[in-house]
């Protein structure tokens, strides 16, 4: 089998002492695109952040395995070097560090010492990917995310995804704040990544992203768990009927988790 496998097993996660994830199970294989959907406040972004190792989230139980290795025991940079990538919902702004210098450091971090990417090759690759994403060339020399519009930040996350070429990517609400044209461009970039060696977990609460990126599997999260899984038709039904039918089916009154009343 080609590609890597990410296995999330019985994952429990707390933030500031409050449990947000209450046993999540998911397996993503290379070549597969999974969508995790669900209303706001059901734990979707927590899942993404906990897998990557965000300092505010504490894993209290369960495992996340990448090709059998427990990533929860790794530092954040080791997780990335092992093949994980997270396109963040709110990327940090880092003043004084150009987008291009940052990207080159990131690419070289995935390579052996002495095998750094040549400047020419780097520029060529970046230029071509920026073209795909219809990004203004001067964004390479701007400081990382500083003063970027919401849409520019999202494109920049996908630019990083395309340059780094991870084994498994998690896209955390990459569609939020994008107009329809930007959404198409970003989707084009993500679809270009599709191959047997690349697995992707797409977190969204709008079905519209899935009009452009067809998932192989769709999962619905509520109350900090995956409560329903299915194929692309599940996303279609959610688009038409909303989430109420699932709540009724499962007897859930309040789908959110860890929210103050």
């Amino acid at each position: 089998m080609a590609g890597s496998t990410l296995e999330i097993k019985d994952l429990h996660v707390e933030i500031e002492g409050q449990e947000i994830l209450k046993g999540v199970n998911l397996t993503i294989n290379g070549g597969e695109f999974h969508a995790v959907m669900g209303p706001n406040g059901t734990g979707k972004s927590t899942l993404a952040s906990a897998i990557m190792g965000h300092p505010k989230f504490e894993v209290t139980q369960g495992e996340v395995l990448l090709d059998g290795e427990n990533v929860l025991e790794m530092e954040v940079d080791e997780r990335a070097q092992a093949g994980l990538f997270l396109a963040m919902q709110y990327p940090s702004e880092i003043s004084g560090v150009t987008n291009s210098d940052f990207l080159r450091s990131a690419i070289n971090a995935h390579r052996e010492e002495g095998d750094e990417i040549s400047l020419m090759k780097f520029i060529k690759e970046m230029d071509s990917k920026m073209d795909t994403l219809e990004m203004d060339k001067n964004m390479a020399q701007r400081y990382l995310n500083e003063g970027f519009s919401g849409g520019e930040k999202k494109r920049n996350e996908i630019l990083q995804l395309m340059m780094i070429q991870p084994a498994i990517a998690i896209l955390d609400e990459i569609d939020s704040g994008l107009d329809i044209d930007a959404l198409k461009v970003v989707s084009k970039g993500i679809n270009e990544m599709r191959n047997d060696n690349f697995g992707c977990l797409i977190i969204t609460h709008y079905q519209r992203l899935l009009n452009y990126i067809t998932p192989d599997k769709v999962h619905v999260m509520m109350q900090g768990r995956v409560v329903k899984s299915g194929g692309p038709e599940l996303a279609q039904r959610l688009e038409e009927e909303g989430y109420e039918w699932i709540k009724e089916e499962l007897g859930i009154e309040d789908e959110t988790v860890g929210q103050e009343a």
Binding site: H54, P55, V76, S92, I94, F102
Partner: protein, 435 residues
Amino acid sequence: MTVEVSLPYDKEYVTQFSKGLQEPEWMKNLRLNALEKSESLELPKPDKTNIQSWNFTEFKHHVEGETIDSLQNLPVEIQDFLDQEEEQQNLVIQRNHTVAYGTLDQKLKDQGVIFTDMATALREHGELVEKYYMNDAVHVDEHRLTALHAALMNGGIFLYVPKNVQIEEPIQAIFWQEDPEASLINHILVVAEENSSVTYVENYVSHNKEEKTSANIVTEVIAKDGAKVSFGAVDNFEAGTTVYANRRGVAYRDAVIEWALGQMNEGNTVSENITHLIGDNSHSNAKTVAIGRGAQKQNFTANITHFGKGSDGYILQHGVMKDKATAIFNGIGKIEHGASKSNAEQESRVLMLSKDARGDANPILLIDEDDVTAGHAASVGRVDPIQLYYLMSRGITRFEAERLIIHGFLAPVVKQLPVEAVKRQLTQVIERKVY
């Protein structure tokens, strides 16, 4: 109660020193008058830093430096300041207290530009220097250090740009304290006449880790109506040198003074950078970055005072503190009565890399006029864990991520320095000091 410090340099010494340099009479008198005042004036009192016991008076006062016939004969650490690819047209290298190398583009000479060491300027352009020397910007009797400076000044540069002359290429000066005990009592005087423009960049460097001496630097920048002066500096005195640096600008109508100061000394340092926006619509952008390490104590003041209407001032101070270093960053935006429609902005940020380091950011706005805008931002803290997380999530190690963030934090000055070699050298100094 002040401690009396009797200088090893008396009236007789100063008279002979002035005579030896064939200085004009006014300069000798200014020195003698200053010497007398230095005995009664007190040391300055920088906010929250006690400098009473610092060494401002023990040093070798006059040390000649060998001249250099070719830049290839410079030691590598001095060559680092020079853009090797390009021929140096406008450069002065001062070695201890004398000029080792000096050149100025003939085209600029023909336009009336003067760029020479202070001793030569006093001999050849005495009247012109007299008009500005410690007149409009810094005064002899402000405190003991300005008086000592005036009495014992032993180096520096005079840069004069005539009316309407725009100098495209940067003008570069290197002040090389080669003798470990030599004191640089350097006076930099930049005069930009109406509608002229110039970019100047200077480096201070010494290698005295153990030997004690002191530097007393006064810089005066005069920007006449419509003139523009960009002033860049990298100070990198070693730990043995106690530094007093006073850089002051006066901007007249529509004039612009930009400062980009990389304050990278290893020893105790008091530095003030004050700009008077005298004229209407004058503008100043004062940027400083600094690093403290070891047990170093430093005090930085950036002050922009607005007198002219519609004047615009922006202060940026970024400091990185490690080990047990202490630094105080005072940012002062002052708007005088009558300076309506003025704008005073400032940002002071200190990044702490160890728990024993201390950094204070004191933003101060003093406003005596109603119709103005002003703002400040200040912060003292550690490297942001969320920024680290973001960079590390791309595979970048914690060490490298922190390095990127720190270089980025100090980039506002690096970016603005005009000479590529000076930028690169400052980046190396930052790298060396932080790691």
